[in-house]
């Protein structure tokens, strides 16, 4: 169950961040922020070759006691970070990948909207709905 989903822009500022309201959101924000370092590290390590060869799904960035943080980066250096509750052991890597794929698709749809200026906060309702479904469904 994804407890927090964030979309980070290329310049490492958040375009969209949402967490389950029951938790202390600040904690998740902090986790996402710290995970950016790990993302950058992975990108630099893998991206020495052509970007194409780099896989978009970064996998588990780092696990904490209660949560696991997964990362995904697009070719335009937009990062998706997902914090998942560790108690949900049934959540497999494939599922995480599919969730990221959905995120990527929705993000692409948002970008296709001419009224969306890249770099703005994402306020698309469709995107919100998709994220909501992801945060609940995985529960």
């Amino acid at each position: 169950m994804a407890v927090c989903i964030a979309v980070i822009a290329k310049e490492n500022y958040p375009l969209y961040i949402r967490s389950t309201p029951t938790e202390d959101e600040l904690k998740f924000h902090y986790m996402v922020h710290t995970s950016l370092d790990v993302v950058d590290e992975k990108i630099s390590a893998m991206g020495k070759a052509l970007v194409d060869q780099r896989e978009l799904y970064l996998g588990l960035l780092y696990p904490t006691e209660d949560y696991k943080v997964y990362g995904y980066v697009t070719n335009s250096k937009v990062k998706f970070v997902m914090v998942v509750d560790s108690s949900n052991t049934a959540l497999r890597d494939n599922e995480i990948r599919s969730m990221f794929r959905k995120l990527h698709n929705s993000y692409t749809d948002v970008m296709c909207n001419p009224f969306y200026n890249p770099g703005d906060r994402i306020q698309s309702r469709a995107f919100d709905n998709m994220v909501t479904s992801m945060m609940i469904q995985v529960c």
């Binding site: 194409d52 060869q53 896989e55 799904y57 497999r92 890597d93 494939n94 990948r97 599919s98 794929r101 959905k102 990527h104 698709n105 929705s106 692409t108 749809d109 296709c112 909207n113 001419p114 009224f115 969306y116 306020q123 698309s124 309702r125 469709a126 709905n129 998709m130």
Partner: protein
């Protein structure tokens, strides 16, 4: 404030008034000045006005919130009707006429009241529960102000504001639908042209300050507000004078809008009443939209690129967020461009929004792009329930836009056939793309399958062989522990647990999942093991389910080893007896209970089933040819414990993960002596070590141990030796009560042997691991290639 129940007409009226007063577009608070002006227009004595204000709570709050405003309006109506002003009166007075405000509103109001009542009927279906969002063009400006849909900063905010009043209103008939305020000033008046257009495009404006041109805002226009607005679009040019706020935009529009509003307005009015579906586009509207489309894109079958559409719709002065939402709704195929249908839908939504209608969350059916011939505009209007695309997929693609990839065409159809929202689901459901999950094996749920899953990876087979060997040596029913873990069948697992090393090997486990069956079928195990050997390095086999449980034939050698073990057991009474004999071939060891004998039987059995776990318990009785169970029982019991320990030591690397669990397993083995005696335990530890399951006291631990050992032995010879060593080693383990009988020397000898076996197995394990790694790497690289080659079709 006490709950205020308003009729639909009242609600609409109040909403209009509210928006009229809400010149600051706050959507929450109306300007006091405006409100006072309004009250003055109600021709009520000042003290009454003050009283009203007090009653509604505005004086208390200091401002007029929506609820306060509504209550105030209601009180005005009460006062105007001659009823005493009281808080209760707002709800008790029935059939209260709408508050009347003098000034040019009179005519509007009368018209409006009539229209409202009629509207409320016609609009029953979508009576907006929530008062129309600010977009309500200045109600007061009735005259043509209908379209003054003050673009509220964000439609969403309106929602929160309206709820303030909504509870008070008449029960929302369709909360989820669009709040259509029928009141949308359809302003179909001929006078509208004067004021309408202006207001429309200058939503913010009180552009038509009190122009009494009297387009009744409420001219009872029916649902499709857009119709009015639509007209207003065109009216913009003529009403440039009214565009006090946005002359620039008006000018832009003059170039764009050309349709004469007056005539259209009348027509719209006529037709609007006949439309039940507020989102339906009338013919005139459609025609207008088409005309607009052609101004941007002459080819009706072509697209309007996103940038052009953006400019166009930005002229409507709606907030970017709303425009963005409109775009999301109307760009059906998510291609960043608008076809004619999409454009009409978007335009329609903009018009609706301008008239105060809230934007839907989903695209209304009537607005969904019809994949029908565009020339047939007449059909377009008749959308009610006619999802054009349903029947026109064939025509759609060709007619819609030749330039459009057929994929785009089909998407709407796909979506339309299902829910619109499923579109994204569908596109993103292409999860069928290769999974780059390199650890798919361990994560594979199949591994949890108890029943024999065909061996997937060569290493697993080898593991099985090892297990087999182990089994033979120690006469433990060391079922392929890794598999055991997965097996939900506890009994099975118990059998396997002996092979402590296995438990942790996930990858191996996969292979073992198949080998899980081996306990029940020792022969299979043997064969599987041998197959493993042959398969080692055959990467393709890893992904494909391995061949059916290997037949025990290969386990002949094993069987021989089993025999040897058996012999040993019989003769020396040492555990190794059966164990030693186990060559890599997994001896058929279907039943854990046959642990003692299994080693012997396994090879005998022709099944090479590795699914020891699941079937072992059942098969126990079925394998009459198994060796003397009793002696093996004892043997196994001791072996189990010993084996587990020794295995832990011996096969540290047999299974990478399992290794870690070995010590644990062995420890557990010691503790489960009792179980062993009952032929149950020993394997448990191994299972536990596997980390996943249940340790259910192995039903036939002893046997299983043997089997597992056998299975694990990749090398017949090595394993036989090892098994012997194992047996020897295990036997003497003092932890097991049974082994107590062994003298120290025997124990030491067995330990030595076990160690030797251990090293051999460790070597084997490392080789297998390497093979596994290679195979996985190949697999990953192939997947990456595949992913690269495959275009992002889902995007």
């Amino acid at each position: 404030m006490e709950g205020l129940t308003l009729s639909d007409a009242e609600q609409k009226y109040y909403s209009d008034l509210f928006s009229y007063c809400d010149i600051e577009s706050t959507k929450k608070v109306v300007v006091n000045g405006r409100v006072l002006e309004l009250f003055r227009a109600a021709q009520l004595p000042n003290d009454v006005v003050l009283q009203i204000m007090e009653l509604c709570g505005a004086t208390r709050l200091g401002y007029f919130g929506r609820s306060q405003f509504y209550i105030a309006l209601k009180l005005v109506a009460v006062a105007q009707s001659g009823f005493p002003l009281r808080v209760e009166s707002i709800n008790t007075v029935k059939d209260l006429p709408l508050p009347r405000f003098v000034a040019s509103k009179n005519e509007q109001e009368s018209r409006h009241t009539a229209s409202y009542s009629s509207d409320s009927e016609s609009q029953g279906s979508y009576s907006g529960v929530i008062p129309p969002p600010p977009g309500r063009g200045q109600v007061k400006k009735g005259p043509g102000s209908h379209d003054v849909v003050q673009p509220r900063p964000s439609a969403d905010q309106q929602e929160p504001a309206s709820p303030v009043v909504s509870p008070q209103q008449s029960p929302p008939t369709s909360p989820h639908t669009w709040r259509k305020h029928s009141r949308h000033p359809s302003g179909g008046n001929s006078e509208r042209p004067l004021t309408g257009p202006g207001p429309f495009w200058s939503p913010f404006g009180d552009a038509q300050p009190g122009s009494s041109a009297g387009d009744a805002v409420w001219s009872g226009h029916s649902p499709p507000p857009p119709q009015e607005n639509w007209v207003s679009f065109a009216d913009t040019p003529p009403t440039s004078t009214l565009l006090t706020m946005h002359p620039a935009s008006v000018q832009d529009q003059t170039t764009v809008r050309t349709v004469a509003s007056a005539t259209t307005a009348n027509e719209i009015r006529r037709q609007s009443s006949s439309c039940d579906d507020p989102w339906k586009i009338t013919d005139e509207q459609r025609q207008y939209y088409v005309n607009q489309f052609t101004t941007i894109q002459p080819d009706l079958n072509g697209f309007i690129p996103g940038s052009a559409a953006k400019e166009f719709f930005t002229k409507s002065k709606l907030p970017i967020l709303e425009l963005s939402h409109i775009w999301e709704l109307s760009d059906f195929d998510k291609d960043g461009a608008l076809t004619l249908d999409e454009f009409c839908a978007a335009f329609h939504l903009v018009v609706a929004r301008k008239n105060g209608y809230d934007l839907p969350e989903k695209l209304p059916e009537s607005l969904m792009p019809k994949l029908i011939d565009l020339e047939d505009s007449a059909d377009v209007g008749d959308q009610p329930g006619e999802v054009g695309y349903s029947g026109s997929p064939a025509e759609a693609p060709p007619s819609k836009s030749p330039s459009m990839p057929s994929l785009n065409q089909t998407w709407p159809e796909l979506n339309q056939s299902s829910e619109w929202e499923t579109f994204s689901e569908r596109s993103s459901s292409s999860q069928t793309l290769t999974q780059f999950d390199s650890n798919i094996a361990p994560a594979d749920p199949d591994t949890a399958i108890v029943h024999p899953v065909p061996i997937r990876m060569t290493p697993s087979k080898i593991h099985m062989q090892e297990m087999e060997l182990k089994r033979t040596s120690s006469d433990h029913t060391n079922p392929t522990s890794p598999l055991l873990v997965k097996t939900s069948d506890l009994s099975e697992e118990s059998k396997i647990n002996s092979s402590v090393k296995f438990p942790s090997g996930n990858t191996v486990a996969d292979g073992y999942s198949s080998s899980d069956s081996f306990p029940s079928d020792p022969e299979q195990i043997g064969s599987s093991v041998t197959r493993q050997r042959s398969h080692s390095g055959a990467s393709p086999d890893n992904t494909a389910p391995p061949p059916p449980p290997p037949r025990p034939q290969p386990s002949h050698s094993r069987s021989s080893s089993l025999d040897m073990n058996r012999t040993f057991a019989v003769t020396t009474g040492q555990q190794q007896a059966g164990v030693v004999a186990h060559p890599p071939a997994v001896p058929p060891r279907p039943q854990p209970s046959q642990a003692p004998g299994p080693s012997v039987h396994r090879p005998v059995d022709a099944d090479g089933l590795i699914t020891h776990t699941s079937t072992s318990p059942q098969q126990i009785p079925e394998q009459p040819n198994f060796a003397d169970f009793s002696q093996f029982e004892v043997f196994a019991a001791s072996n189990v414990t010993e084996e587990q320990d020794s295995e832990a030591e011996k096969h540290p690397e047999v299974l990478p993960a399992e290794k870690a669990s070995d010590p644990a397993g062995s420890l557990r083995v010691a503790q489960t002596d009792g179980k062993i005696e009952e032929k149950t335990a020993a394997s448990v530890p191994a299972n536990v070590s596997k980390g996943t399951t249940p340790l259910a006291p192995p039903p036939k631990p002893v046997r299983r141990r043997l089997k597992s050992e056998d299975e694990l032995r990749p090398d017949v010879d090595e394993h036989t030796q090892k098994t012997g060593v194992l047996a020897a080693v295990l036997a003497p383990q003092p932890s097991i009560p049974r082994s107590v009988g062994k003298d120290k020397k025997a124990i030491q000898a067995s330990i030595r042997r076990n160690k030797e076996t251990n090293t051999v197995l460790a070597r084997l394990n490392s080789e297998l691991q390497q093979q596994l790694k290679d195979v996985l790497e190949e697999r990953i690289s192939l997947e990456v290639q595949l992913e690269q080659l495959r275009p992002f079709s889902h995007l």
